[in-house]
């Protein structure tokens, strides 16, 4: 297993992340179980091709305030998902700016295209080691189990940061994402790197969530983020029953009321909800000491 000790030194920017989250967030959503700081493990700031990006970012944090979400782990994805290094560096620069604009509220994922092996690795190091990013976000340029991902997976292990991977199991009738990963692809990557903190994205993001949960059963190192707009009754309970509450992460992917409502409604012990809402992700972040 990876060394879980705190790093000896924490960069300045990472210290900023340790600042107390806004009091407004802590004061909201009295329905959350006591003693938990809620972290959204999968969110996005607005791409700046959107002329309303500043207002949209503000609206995201305002919504987090209303819903009692203390921190949001964000990336920015470009329109062209097979992004060149210039493009993914710019997206990450915008995330870093978001971390400055909302101190203590925004945690950064570095988005890269693993096809640019050397540049992607350099960008992840720049973001994590120099700017206090907490993890890596990958989209659907490659399946999760393609060898091109190996260097990034090894780097995430070395840096002790999580790898959040886009995923889904859409029906065969859906518009194609030719290389969208499902639970089987993530399981294969996890088998190759069992010490990797791999997060399967948005179980409620559309697609057959029952299939996804079952596919991850025998990949015990894979976490599952519960984000998405689908509010199907029972999804959280099934995930907890088959995978265990220790592997589940509260997340919204911008579907905030659906995601908050699912957790509120899930028939789980309060202790399990506390794990899902923030304790599990805090444990992941503690591996590197980003929180």
């Amino acid at each position: 297993m990876v060394d879980q000790a705190m790093p000896r030194s924490i960069s300045i920017s990472r210290r900023a992340l340790l600042a107390a989250p806004a009091a407004a967030a802590a004061a909201a959503a009295p329905s959350w179980p006591a003693g938990v700081e809620v972290i959204d493990a999968h969110s996005h700031l607005a791409h700046r091709a959107n002329p309303r990006w500043a207002e949209d970012d503000r609206a995201l944090v305002d919504a987090a305030d209303k819903l009692g979400i203390a921190q949001l782990a964000c990336s920015i994805l470009p329109a062209e998902r097979a992004a060149t290094p210039d493009v993914f560096r710019q997206c990450n620069d915008w995330v870093a700016d978001g971390m400055r604009r909302f101190p203590g509220r925004i945690l950064g994922y570095a988005f890269v295209n693993p096809g640019f092996v050397r540049e992607a690795a350099a960008e992840v190091r720049r973001c994590v080691e120099q700017r206090g990013f907490i993890g890596v976000k990958l989209y659907n340029t490659y399946f999760a189990d393609e060898p091109v991902l190996n260097p990034l997976a090894e780097l995430c292990v070395e840096l002790r940061v999580p790898l959040l991977h886009h995923a889904g199991r859409p029906s065969w009738l859906s518009p194609p994402q030719p290389r969208i990963s499902d639970g089987s692809h993530l399981s294969a990557l996890a088998a190759r790197y069992p010490e990797l903190m791999l997060i399967c994205a948005h179980i409620c993001g559309g697609g057959d969530w029952e299939w996804q949960i079952k596919a991850l059963r025998r990949a015990p190192s894979v976490y599952l983020d519960l984000a998405g707009s689908v509010a199907d009754e029972g999804v959280v309970e099934m995930a907890a029953r088959i995978l265990g509450a220790d592997r589940l992460l509260f997340a919204c992917d911008l579907s905030m009321t659906a995601s908050v409502g699912r957790i509120r409604g899930a028939e789980l012990p309060e202790a399990d909800k506390r794990k899902i809402l923030g304790q599990n992700f805090a444990r992941i972040l503690a591996r590197r000491g980003t929180r």
Binding site: K66, S174, G207, T257, V260, G261, A266
Partner: protein, 257 residues
Amino acid sequence: MIDLNAYLGPFAFRRLRYRTAAGLLRLMDRAKIEQALVSSAAAITYRNAQAGNEELAAEAAPHRGRLLPCAVLNPAYAGWRDDLAICHDEFGMRAVRLYPRWHQYRLTDPECVALVQAAAARGWLITIPVRVEDRRQQSWLVDIPNVDYDEIAALLRRCPDAKFALLNGSGYTGSLLGRAHNGLPPNYVVDVALMTAEMTNEIGQLVRNLGEERVVFGTGIPFHYPEPAVVKLEILDVPAEVKRRIASGNARRLLGL
């Protein structure tokens, strides 16, 4: 609260944990929903939807104070006029749910318009779920798109004296249905089940564009957790009186409660 978007019975492609009356009431109690307009989930895929209405009537009968039964009728199937009469006279139903994509007809087909007019003549509420499931998770056996908003708008125009509730929809603000002064008769309401109250805040936009009397509470239980709809209402930035109308007042008016 009154939920205009609830169901009983099994669904063909996924187990619904709270598909019985007792189960649904448990969800309603948990979310503080006093009454719900419920239709048969099985009737979505039964060839003869009336069999689902019969099952629903029996299941809901002991709980008539809280479970308000709603017929599923298929204007493309034999005997819908007889079924409508039975649902009204024997089962005491006062609303209908239409599934034009699942039952393979168009809302503007003459038989559908005739059904809507017959139901409206009895004072029924016409409800149209825009979708049952997210299309991305449908079974490999089916390919059921959402109901088209232009098709709905055409029916609204064709039947100006009927009253409609559009359920499980979103993105209305990008269509004629969600625009202010859209030239459509004000004969429809939309439910909050799948709309946002945060960020883009579609619910708030529709309250502004259509009026506070045109938005209603709906959850989609037991397909959905009830709590997301409750959370939307909680954080919606409107006066308390407007929230009360959305939560129950508008539904009372539509159902004559």
